[in-house]
Amino acid sequence: MMDAVGTPQSVLVLGGTSDIGLAVARRLVARRPARLVLAARPSPRRDAAVASLSAAGHEVTAVDFDAEDLPGHPGAVDAAFAGGDVDVAVVAFGVLGDQERAWRDHATAVHLMQVNTTAAVSVGVLLASRMAAQGHGTVIALSSVAGERPRRSNFVYGASKAGMDAFYTGLREAVRADGVRVVVVRPGFVTSAMTQGLARVPLSTDPDTVAEHVVRGLALRRETVWTPPALRWVMSALRHLPGPVFRRLPI
């Protein structure tokens, strides 16, 4: 059970090798030993994550989960709940890819939307039904500010995140009466494996800082977490800029 100050006893990370997903899980259970389920494709990265979290005193299991394998999702989510209630599920998988290729190449565009949007919706439906049955639970959906106002430089990624963001924002209301919380997290540029090699932008952040803001938001019962928090106001301003001005911004 989640306690009164936002500390869970069990955490599931979908995309269990994601830098942000793992950072959030680590911080959520930093104070007390917990049960963790890392759902990801088998890989040395996953093994390393299991090993390091186990060494920190947690009970960790790995579940095979491939975001691209949509028909495999129900089985993977069942396996993730096999050990008992899940207090917090972090939907952390996603791909960025080459954005110029993403709007020109059909297969790349479809793949990006499949992973970031369709697969996110797919697990969202499964998590909602599981958590509604247990009468409690928190879904943390890692969205992005990129979905807030599409930019020329990453609009396919932005479109995919806008889709999942809208889904989870609506799901929040659908499952509220079942004791389930949905927290949508909108980070700015995060330095992580996904963004390796890309130039940093202002207000960029790192996975640990994102995790800190998420955990703080949970204790404060926030439902949308902007990280860094200033992005809420920045994006709100950017949203309302006239197109010709927005287009000329160096972002």
């Binding site: 059970m1 989640m2 306690d3 009164a4 100050v5 936002g6 500390t7 006893q9 104070r31 007390r32 030993p33 209630d85 509604a132 049955a133 247990q134 009468g135 409690h136 509220r176 009466a177 079942d178 004791g179 389930v180 955990v215 703080r216 204790a219 404060l220 019962r221």
Partner: protein, 449 residues
Amino acid sequence: MTPRKTLTGWGGTAPTAADVVRPGDADGVAAALARRDPRGVVVRGLGRSYGDAAQNAGGTVLDLTGLRRVLAVDVERATVTAEAGVSLDHLMRTLLPLGLFVPVTPGTRQVTVGGAIAADVHGKDHHVRGSFSRHVAGMDLMLADGSVRHLTPDGSPDLFWATVGGMGLTGVILRAQLRMLPVQTSSVVVDTERVPDLDAVMDRMTTDDERYTYSVAWVDCLARGGALGRSVLTRGWPARLDQLPPGARGRALAFAPRRAPTVPVTSPVPLVNRSAVRVLNEAWYRRAPRERRRDVQGIAEFFHPLDVVESWPRVYGPRGFVQYQLVVPFSAPDAVRRCLQTLHRHDVVVSLAVLKRFGPGTPAPLSFPAPGWTLALDLPVVPDLAGVLDRLDALVLDAGGRVYLAKDARFPASDLHRMYPDIDRWRQVRRSVDPDGVLSSDLSRRLGL
């Protein structure tokens, strides 16, 4: 279809959803148990437990306020038999005019008889009269299989004392026989004094608490340094008829407190913050007389400050608040000081704090009161609260103390046996009457009870 509702404890934290069933009698309770909800059943009364004791995520919650008949009153012998859903408020309104007072009352009248036993509640008279269960002559407990046992402290000590403080996890209390307190009036004679710091208040209480039936200190938790622990100490006795002003003697047993005004909605933001608490504490301390003797007060005024405004937790906003109540042995009074200092060091806002001395406990393995100092703190939820409370846990454990399960919302399961060393004996009794774990709650899941 039973309606699904999201429920929280009085602190408003950690909401979860359950099917809420409100039976009107024992048959209804049996029917609800017979549904065999795979996620179990727990009883709820008036929802005054601060934490998650009376909620059961995904399962069934039995709202027992429908069992609300007072079944028998024996004025001569000062006993009453009441159904579990009867509130102490109802008992007082009904029985005070007959000269009978509830033997133990917590800071609110809005608790049920069943809840008072399941949490083994205490009041300002614990150092003299012990906890609620000391005044329970017997009770009927419906077990998970629907059978009913009549329990008395002598006839069935194991199950009786496992049910006392058992947080509703041994069965459903249907009715109880209580030994009431004969009184001549519905008033209390009160001595009030301001005490400048923690040492002084502990000293005052140690010296002459035994003279008083009721004793409690309100502590200003924002006062620092030399004023750390400055308090308003109120102590008193049930008033005798000859202590009332002559004009009031004709209605000496009257008791009809007005319905309290309600905080209408949950505030969107917490209204309880440092400056608000500082102003209120300062006002409360200064408003109190430096010293006033033999003041006659009504029962509601003296005992039930929490009933002055209804639904008051709403001012804490959607995050709610945590109540943390600890007891440490008399041999470790310093732990109380260190707890207050820890709260200061971490700049935690304490919206309410009360200090009191407990007398002897009961044989119940999960009953909270034990001889020593007890400090109860209301703490608005803020991001760093979790870590600070972990530090308080460590101080309490080191001192050989414990925290109160009826108020708990965040204690770590791993340390529970250190605070309640007889817990395995309690688990054994529970398993013997509920082998399938039908009775379960968010609290029992969280703490691995």
